[in-house]
Structure formats: structure tokens, C-alpha cells
């Protein structure tokens, strides 16, 4: 087979994937950018509105609530989820007897489907007979109304996400196993303590992996509020758990305001992009300079 024919055949193998990306990502993304400036309801042809959708959204107190809730959610969950995944990976990365079972237990909640996970937590957090309040009451601690109280509902949903950290855990586990043994031996010879060692050797070497986990988690956390909010609270009580994805769903699919939904969608793109840039800044680059 000639070189050119071989190359052409390779592009043919690539074609289904590229067509899929075009139809499922690039066209929809371009379309939402276009529709954001129109009044489209799915039936009548779209009318050009200029920035009217954006003006309307920014003036809408519900949108402001949803953005604020989503931001609080990301700010609360991403650092905690990262720290939990890192702590678990540091504890369980060395081969020891029984470590496989511990890793499996830690990973278990991550594979539970979203709908099942939301229903389980709805029951665990039930104020009257949910196991969590039974335990707190049994220990003589104050019980909370969790999802029923507008002051704690968002934090209760945030709490549920702290156990689905399997993806970050596995990535950091892989990162830790890549660190050559020489480092550990050299540090042990120098008499480095455990914490000094983690602080000065493990963490810097793990930086690129941590950045990967944090960025992935930012994107996931900005969106994975939809299923819990829809099933556990419906956005309530008093809009305490109204997040941007739920608002987009209600605007577009319940009220058929596709133009307005597209404008919100465009803002999500910009918002997530800004969050990623900010994280990149905080980490001081992509962190690959000191990678092994």
C-alpha cells in the first residue's frame, strides 16, 4: 500500500470521530452562540434581538441567584474534593496487604449512577428518620433539617459530592506511582520527616496531576448539580439550590425560551473558560516544568 493511500486510509478511520465532534460539539456550540442573540422558541423562525437576551438575563434575579449558588458550590466543593482525593491517594498509594479492598471501597460511591445516588442521599438526609440525623441524635449532637432548610440545603448537596472523588483519586494514585523510588530513598537518607517530604518532594512532583484533577473538577462541579437539584430539592427551598444547569433546563425545556437558554449557555462557556484561566494562573502555569 502506497504511503499516500495509507495516510488517506488513516484519515478515513479518524472521520467518524471528527464527524461526531462536529455534529455534537462544534455545531451546537456555534448554534448556541448564534441563537443567543435571537428570540427562538423552537416553532417560529428566530428574530434578531441583539443583546436583549443578555440584558434580560442580567436583570433577572433568578439568574443572579443561580450564578451565585453555582459559584458557591464550586468554591466549596472543588478544594474539599481535591484535598479528600489527595489525602486518600497519599494514604493508599503504597502496595500493602488489604490496600486493594480499601481502594475499592473508596471508589464504590463514584460508580453509583446519578439518579440512584441522589435518591440514596435524599433518604440519608431525611430530617426525621434519615440515618445521618439518627446517628447525630444518637451521639447527642444537634440534628439539622438539611435539604429542607434554605440555609443548609446547598451545603447538604455539596456534602453529597464529597464521596464521589474516585476519578481524582485514581489519577493522583497513578501520579504518585510515577514518582521514582530514588527520591524516597534519598529523602530517607537525608532524614526528612514525613510531612517535610510530602511538602517539598511529593506535592511539587504531583503538581501537573493536581492541576489536571482541579481543572477537571471545576468543569464537573459547575454542572453535576443538575441531577441532585432536580431530584432532591427541585431547586428549592426558596431557590436555595437553584443552579445554572437547572435554570437552563427550565428556561429552555419547560418554557421553550431557546434564545434565552442559548444566551445562558454562552455565558456558561465564558464562565467555565474564566475559571480555568484563573486556576491556571493560581498554579503558575501548567506545572509541567518540574514534571518528571
Amino acid at each position: 500500500m502506497s504511503h499516500t493511500r495509507y495516510q488517506v486510509s488513516l484519515y478515513l478511520l479518524l472521520a467518524p470521530f471528527l464527524i461526531g465532534v462536529l455534529l455534537l460539539v462544534i455545531v451546537p456550540a456555534a448554534l448556541s452562540f448564534g441563537l443567543a442573540f435571537t428570540s427562538y422558541d423552537g416553532l417560529t423562525p428566530p428574530d434578531w434581538l441583539g443583546f436583549a437576551n443578555f440584558r434580560h438575563i442580567f436583570a433577572d434575579p433568578l439568574f443572579r441567584t443561580a450564578v451565585l449558588n453555582s459559584l458557591i458550590f464550586v468554591i466549596v466543593t472543588v478544594p474539599m474534593r481535591t484535598v479528600i482525593a489527595l489525602g486518600l491517594a497519599l494514604l493508599l498509594y503504597r502496595p500493602r496487604r488489604g490496600v486493594g479492598l480499601y481502594r475499592a471501597a473508596v471508589y464504590l460511591p463514584t460508580v453509583v449512577p446519578g439518579v440512584a445516588y441522589a435518591l440514596i442521599w435524599l433518604w440519608l438526609l431525611n430530617p426525621l428518620y434519615g440515618p445521618l440525623n439518627l446517628i447525630l441524635g444518637g451521639l447527642g449532637l444537634p440534628t439539622l433539617a438539611w435539604l429542607v432548610d434554605p440555609r443548609t440545603a446547598l451545603l447538604a448537596i455539596a456534602l453529597t459530592t464529597l464521596f464521589q472523588v474516585g476519578e481524582g483519586f485514581v489519577v493522583l494514585l497513578a501520579g504518585l506511582q510515577e514518582i521514582p523510588n530514588d527520591y524516597y530513598e534519598a529523602a530517607a537518607l537525608d532524614g526528612a520527616g514525613r510531612f517535610a517530604f510530602v511538602r517539598h518532594i511529593t506535592l511539587p512532583l504531583l503538581a501537573p496531576w493536581l492541576l489536571l484533577v482541579v481543572i477537571r473538577d471545576l468543569i464537573v462541579s459547575a454542572q453535576n448539580t443538575f441531577t441532585p437539584a432536580l431530584l432532591m430539592t427541585g431547586g428549592g427551598p426558596y431557590y436555595a439550590t437553584l443552579f445554572v444547569p437547572l435554570l437552563i433546563y427550565q428556561t429552555a425545556f419547560d418554557r421553550f425560551r431557546f434564545g434565552e437558554g442559548a444566551a445562558m449557555t454562552t455565558l456558561v462557556f465564558i464562565g467555565v473558560g474564566l475559571l480555568i484561566l484563573l486556576t491556571h494562573r493560581l498554579f503558575g502555569g501548567w506545572g509541567y516544568d518540574d514534571a518528571v
Binding site: L14, V25, V106, P113, L119, I135, G138
Partner: protein, 281 residues
Amino acid sequence: MMMLSNRPRYQTFVFHLLAASIALVFGLPALWVLAASLRQPGTPPPRTIEWFPDPIAWGNYAQVFELIPLGRYLFNSLLLAALAVPLTVLIASWAAFAMAQLPPRVRYTLLALAVALRMVPITALWLTRFLVLKELHLIDTFAALLAPAWMGSSPFFVLIFYWSFRRIPPALIDSARLDGLGPLAIWARIAMPLARSATVAVSVLTFVQYWSDFINPLLYLKSESRYTISVGLRILQQLDATNWPLLMAGVVIMMLPIVLLFVIVQRAFLVEGKIAGVYGN
């Protein structure tokens, strides 16, 4: 000297104590869910944590199937996953094989594309994907739920295959090319047999993705006859949100295949250190 020889044993004890308590926190709720699913419906809720309901109401599991057409939903979910897994493996591994073989400049562009795709917020695509699918007359069909498989279900799956294919010695592929084999033949006879663990990983993750999928069926289906298990659980919740034994029975039924699958493959994923092979660079 005693101190020195005792220290590792003491450390091992602390490690197991810590790790076991964490594992308990992560795993215990699964047992509570099981216990809750076997409680007699209609009886007053327990005032303490209940481990063994008395009497054990096995009938709850039969009752869920009578209350909603759960058999139909399970069949639909199974069919969806059974179609999605081979399609995903095919398209993701083809794309990855081409990526691994194309000249460096094209390869890096495609790698950057795959990484960028991982960062696209999927919620921002719901609405306009709906419009694209509507234009293709795919709304309320299984094809709409299968659509992500056309791009390999997740750019991550393409990357998993790519990492696996890059580790194949170039000499092996070059000699096959000298024998006159085309890309499809090399992919089938050399690349795929050498990427077994990547294939297993992608298959398992794809199964879980489609079995768990809630948002695509919610957005793109209308006919009840096509509903999947996740939409079924939502319907069960809307029927009677306070019947916890039946809801938890539904949850157990939905989780069972995934937990079983996970138990079967977890050695490969977590124990044998193959994670670096799957996730590593």
C-alpha cells in the same frame, strides 16, 4: 532497639485503623440502602439505624416491577449499553489509532482537540444538541441516546486508546506495512490485540456511562416505551416519594449490574497497578 522494631508494626496498625474507618464511611451506606429496601412498606420508620429489618420484605422487589414497567426500562438500558459499548470501542480506537500514526503536527492538533473537548461544559450543549438532533429527526429515538458514541462517548476514551497504541513498538507496525497491510488490517491484527486492558477499561466505563445516563433520556425521549432505568427511578419517585422501601429496592436493582461489573474488573483497575497504564501518560 525495641522501639525501632516496634515502630513499623505500630504504623501498620494505625494505617489499617485509618483506612478501615474511611472504607467504612464510604461503604457502609450501601448496606443501609440494602436494609432499607427490605423493610415492610407502610410500617412506621425506625427510630434507630436498622441493620436487619424484621420481617424481611423480599416482596418489595417484585412490587417495584408491578408498580412501573421496570422490566421494559431495564431491557431498554441493557440494549442501549449493548449497542453503545461496541460502537464506542470501534470509533474511539479507530480515531486513536489514526492519531498515533499520523504525522506529529496533526497528532498534536488532535491531542489538543481531545483535551479541549474534555473541558467543554456538557450542560452548555444540551439545548442546541437537541436542535441538531431534531433537525436530523432523531428526537425520541434510541439513536439520540446513542449519539455520543459517534464521538467515542468521551474524548477520554480516545485518549486511553491513544496512550495504549503509542506504546506499541513502531518496528512492529512498520514490518506489517512492508507486508502490504493497510491501517484497518494493522488495527485489527496488531493494535487491538495489544490493547486489551484499554479495551476492557473503555468497555466498562462506557457501560457505566450509558446505564447511568439520566440527562439524555430526560431531554431527548418522549415515548414511555423507550424510557431507561434512570428515568424509571425518577417516575417511581414521582409516584410515591415517601415509599422508601420501594425506592431503595429500585436503587439496588439499578446499582446491582454496575457493582457486579466493578467487582469483576476492580483487580485490573485498582490492585494490579494497571491504573498507571490506563491513566498515565
